[in-house]
């Protein structure tokens, strides 16, 4: 059944040692043992009901940017991905070859952003992303994970941050950025380990590693808004979590626990997370779920909510607006994942004169194509990732904006790749970059 094989051309072969080398020594018996253990011990009602309820109607297909961008190739539809992975694994009781598992990893890890848009198109509300995360779990347990992704997870496991940042480098970077911020605002400080502060500000490790100026921006914003804040000098400062996406849930749990425990140790009122979507998902629900917490122990808010609070309360006043036309990349994990679409528009309206709304919008936004750990699978998979999100390029181009505001690190990198891949000639900005440009700095705070 299904389409005759001759009209489905094979996909380009991508070599990735994390997959190619790992599967060489795997036997069908070893794979079967893992598949059956994961399915028997780690899944229950949801998994079974989802699989037994799906009537193979294909109505989820129109949700998926991979499917739409690959000219409606059925291999990229959400249910098509489940068919090529889980249905086969279950039918063969897990007794599959290493080569088959490699395909499972390619599909679940590099061709699905677990953005959950398909759950809004499936009439039954089947959580297809959860099913594909279960495939990732199986691949991880077999040691079959794209190499770049696994390196990131190794870093989480060893250093509790994503980018092998050592403690002295972390503190040094903060001091450097404090100096930079004081070049603009005389009172800018990055208070380390301040017990009882109102806000614990956490970032993802790529910020100190490659985007340190974003921390400097935040130091300026905090100083102008006169926020009582702190950052820890010790582990737990990194809120990112790629282990959540590789299927290494044990490491995911350790990382999330460290993040929340850092906040508890500093006795802060709340955690404010930098502009990142997946990190927010990890801290607010995927992490707590695994750790057996219904809610995070310390209230967590995303940077977008925090900026909204600063702007609407008047703590930050806007001196001028950005005149260039701007549009928005709505990060799945804070819009579909937290309903922040309206607040995002309000802070953009407050700071930009010419906002061009994207369509589809709000919960129906398209994923950037980078999220869900896909971009972390590294350069080998970049071509297919950019090809798999043509609809995003079309969506952005239709706005005719010059600037794309992306309050998420994955979106930021993913949209940059799409802009260069499809030659859109746009610029990508975090909201903090917009805010430091337009906020009013009281005279007494200005560095001369």
């Amino acid at each position: 059944m299904g389409l005759p094989a001759e009209i489905i051309p094979p996909l380009p072969v991508v070599s990735d040692p994390g997959l190619d080398e790992s599967v060489k020594t795997l036997t069908p018996d070893q794979i079967a043992a893992v598949v059956n253990r994961v399915i028997d011990r780690e899944t229950a009602a949801r998994f079974r009901v989802y699989l037994n309820t799906c009537v193979h109607c294909g109505l989820c297909s129109d949700a998926c940017h991979w499917f739409l961008s690959n000219d409606r190739d059925p291999r990229f539809s959400p249910v098509g991905k489940v068919k090529q992975t889980l249905w086969e694994l279950i039918k063969r009781k897990g007794r599959v070859s290493g080569e088959f598992l490699k395909e499972c990893s390619r599909i679940a890890q590099t061709e699905c952003n677990v953005c959950r848009r398909c759950s809004m198109y499936c009439p039954f509300g089947i959580d297809i992303a959860y099913l594909l995360l279960t495939v990732r779990r199986i691949c991880h347990e077999c040691g079959v994970v794209p190499q770049f992704m696994q390196d990131t997870v190794n870093s989480h496991s060893v250093t509790l941050n994503q980018m092998w940042v050592k403690q002295d480098e972390w503190i040094d970077t903060l001091q450097w950025q404090e100096e930079e911020a004081r070049g603009e605002i005389v009172t800018a400080r990055i208070p380390l380990d301040k017990e009882g502060a109102d806000v614990f500000y956490s970032v993802i490790a790529p910020e100190p590693k490659i985007l340190a100026q974003l921390i400097g921006n935040m130091a300026q914003i905090m100083a102008v808004a006169r926020v009582d804040w702190t950052m820890p000098s010790f582990d737990g400062w990194d809120n990112s979590n790629m282990a959540m996406y590789s299927g290494d849930f044990e490491t995911m749990g350790r990382v999330e626990r460290a993040h929340h425990e850092a906040a508890l140790r500093l006795k802060v009122n709340r955690i404010v997370m930098g502009e990142c979507g997946h990190a927010f998902r990890g801290a607010v629900y995927d992490g707590p779920k695994w750790l057996g917490w219904r809610e995070p122990p310390v209230p967590v808010i995303h940077a977008v909510e925090f900026y909204h609070e600063l702007i609407t309360s008047g703590a930050i006043k806007i001196a001028r607006k950005i005149e260039e036309p701007v549009t928005l990349q709505e990060p799945c994990n804070i819009v579909r994942g937290r309903g922040l679409g309206q607040k995002l528009r309000e802070i953009i309206d407050a700071t930009c004169a010419d906002f061009r709304p994207p369509e589809p919008a709000f919960e129906h936004n398209y994923c950037c194509g980078a999220g869900g750990g896909v971009i972390n699978c590294g350069p080998p998979w970049k071509t297919s990732r950019v090809k798999g999100n043509r609809v995003k390029a079309e969506q952005l181009a239709a706005t005719k904006a010059h600037i794309v505001i992306t309050p998420c690190h994955n979106c930021h990198s993913g949209i940059e790749d799409i802009i260069s891949g499809y030659k859109l000639g746009m610029h990508v900005r975090f909201f903090s970059e917009i805010l430091v440009q337009v906020m009013e700095i009281p005279e007494e705070l200005k560095a001369s």
Partner: protein, 215 residues
């Protein structure tokens, strides 16, 4: 033969159907305890809000994008459930056996609704064959399920119209009806039972945890 299919087989079919549904329901509710997130996150308010948007025609975006499928599925499912209950011949049998009666539709209406139901099934079949994304995930079981659902309607219509041999047709009709009833709890037709639960759970996660809509 007629005595068996119109007596014991009907009882067997109803017992298997009801028993199977209860078994599936209890198993699901027990399994949901092992799935540690289900009970803590279920929110009736958000779940029912989501369910509402998926049982009202065109209340969700996907239904508006696929209007032909929406019309077909809604009318099909309504006919599938209501037609057997409101059919004069079915009610007459209950009335004859137990003396109970309820509302019926006219025979002419029933004929047209049956024709529509079968037409909808043909539509589903053609869609399955024509749309690559549906065909890709289709296996023999999907065709068998369509046939299981179509059979009682086709044979019932033929029996009523007295096409071919009535005695044979009515026996086939009762057998196929029994097969469909018994298949519901143990095949993907069980979405009849599971649909509200999967939707309510997803609506809860979207609404209560993520402050977002899922329609």
């Amino acid at each position: 033969m007629y005595a068996f299919v119109s007596g014991p087989l009907v009882w067997i079919a109803f017992i298997v159907f009801v028993g199977g549904m209860i078994y599936q329901l209890v198993t699901m509710l027990q399994n949901a305890k092992k799935d540690k997130v289900v009970y803590p996150y279920v929110s009736l308010k958000h779940g029912i809000r989501s369910l509402f948007h998926w049982v009202v025609p065109f209340a969700s975006k996907n239904m508006r994008m696929r209007y032909e499928m929406t019309i077909m599925t809604f009318v099909f499912h309504l006919c599938l459930i209501l037609l057997p209950i409101l059919l004069t011949a079915h009610v007459a049998m209950f009335s004859f056996a137990w003396g109970v009666k309820w509302l019926t539709v006219s025979e002419r209406t029933a004929d047209w609704l049956t024709v529509f139901t079968v037409f909808a099934l043909v539509f589903f079949l053609v869609r399955r064959l024509m749309l690559p994304e549906v065909r890709f995930v289709t296996s023999a079981s999907d065709y068998i399920l369509l046939a299981i659902v179509a059979a009682p309607f086709v044979t019932g219509f033929m029996a009523h119209r007295q096409w071919f041999d009535y005695e044979t047709m009515i026996v086939l009709h009762m057998i196929s009806g029994a097969v469909m009833l018994m298949a519901i709890p143990f095949t993907r037709l069980s979405h009849m039972l599971f649909f509200p639960f999967t939707r309510i759970y997803m609506g809860s996660e979207f609404g209560a945890v993520r402050n977002a809509k899922d329609w």
